[in-house]
């Protein structure tokens, strides 16, 4: 256990630089975007009202008040998030492959540590999960900052203040990432964890059998996917009928099976088949 935490700490430290750059980049782009969007709205409003002869109310009726919704649906907001997601997806692979390549053969040391090799697996998986959570929390903080900026730049009359909670409902994307309740939270992150574990298993297949490994791995991922959507797809095709609660339970069982199998497989590969 102690070794797991040591490795976790180690992995987090390694990611820190990249992570901070990512956070700063996201903040900068989103904040600049917020400012630009707010100001361009105001410019438009001022032009219409002060020069065009429209009344404030007319303008508001025509163009609807400015709110964070404008920000959220813009590229200034979604862009950095896409960058963040891409970076994390990249890191899911990089966190393993960097230890083999890029003048870095640290994998020798990792595999020769007097500890269970699964600690390597768990520490890498946990690193990703923690950074995802951190980024989500960070996004919530940013949303609040952006709201404040909007309050500064756009006079109350033109503004519609929304709570972050309302915003998340409004955005299809945000509602998935900032879940509404504990159940949704567990589902979303459970899915994420399952996804990471399966991908890690595929990576280990490749690191054990190279090209044959990619084929095995993708096959495995495919089977895992099919198995996981089985309850839902069976219902879709009318083969079986389940109450939502039953579906949930079956899905959880599927998840347990898939994650369990992946962990067992990964352990076997790490202990016996992986090669430097």
């Amino acid at each position: 256990m102690k070794n797991f935490f040591k490795l976790l700490n180690f992995e987090l430290n390694r990611f820190m630089k990249l992570f901070i750059i990512l956070l700063v980049t996201i903040a900068v782009i989103q904040i600049i975007g917020t400012i630009i969007l707010a100001r361009s709205y105001m410019m438009q409003a001022n032009q219409a009202v002060l020069q065009g002869g429209m009344s404030q109310q007319e303008f508001i009726d025509m163009y609807s008040p400015f709110s964070m919704i404008h920000v959220i649906y813009s590229l200034w907001f979604m862009g950095p998030i896409a960058i963040g997601v891409a970076a994390l997806m990249f890191y899911v692979f990089f966190i393993w492959y960097r230890d083999w390549f890029a003048r870095n053969t640290f994998i020798y040391r990792l595999l020769m540590l007097p500890t269970s090799r699964m600690n390597i697996f768990f520490s890498k998986a946990t690193t990703i999960m923690l950074t995802v959570l951190a980024m989500v929390a960070y996004q919530v903080i940013l949303l609040n900052i952006e709201k404040t900026i909007v309050k500064w730049l756009v006079p109350k009359v033109y503004r519609q203040d929304l709570r972050v909670v309302d915003l998340t409902v409004g955005s299809e994307y945000l509602s998935k990432v900032l879940p509404q309740g504990i159940v949704e939270f567990l589902i979303a992150y459970g899915l994420g964890l399952g996804f990471i574990v399966v991908i890690f298993t595929v990576i280990l297949f490749e690191r054990s059998y190279r090209i044959k490994g990619i084929i095995f791995g993708l096959l495995y991922a495919f089977i895992a996917f099919v198995l996981f959507v089985l309850p839902l797809s069976l219902q879709l095709f009318g083969c079986i009928y389940l109450y939502p609660m039953e579906t949930l339970i079956v899905q959880i069982v599927m998840w347990i099976i898939i994650v369990g199998a992946s962990l067992i497989l990964s352990r076997y590969l790490l202990k016996n088949k992986v090669t430097v």
Partner: protein, 232 residues
Amino acid sequence: MNHMIEVKDIHKSFGRKKVLKGVSFTAQKGEITCLIGVNGVGKTTVMNAIMNLTPMNRGEILIDGEKINKRSYEKITFIPDTITMLPTMRIQDAFEFMNDYYNSWNQERAEELLNFFRLQKSDRIAELSKGNKAKANLLLGLALDVDYVLMDEPFSGIDIFSREQIANVFTSHLIEDRGVIITTHEITDIEHLIDKVVLLDNGIVVKEFNAEEVREEQGKSIVDVMREVFRI
């Protein structure tokens, strides 16, 4: 209990290429065993196999009578032909890392080796010259209180003075009564240090002999035997 490393009939293929076709030999604790063979014959593969860094297709490897497991890494260390630390680390960071994970880490011994090799704790591994990198690598392995030390090509591409320094390690107390397996194709620096020679050719051990015995019984040097076996 046998105090030795036993390599028993190991086979290894890379794709369709059969590299090891039944390699068997033993390395005793308290002896220096040298694996000799041309480049690409599979010496590194054998070392990796002993350390479970690469799987075998067939065969068995026993360390003191046991198959390798996570505890074995407190008993046996491997110094491969590549650095085993992050290049961004300083030597001090590497020390802390090793100390953190290995009970067998001997900080005093590490400091001693640091002086012996004339390196500094503040040196960054990536910035070291090739010779110094090799010495740093050696350092990390030798500072562990283990029974067996495996070294893969410790002299490759190293300048002559660093080579001398490294050769000096073999006669010092830093090796003590440990079992050493070293691979090399360059034996001039250590010809009189080697206890046992294992000649690899074409995927198998073509000859396994004790250097002093051969000198006594046949009046041949290690190089003489090599010439005979490899027919040069």
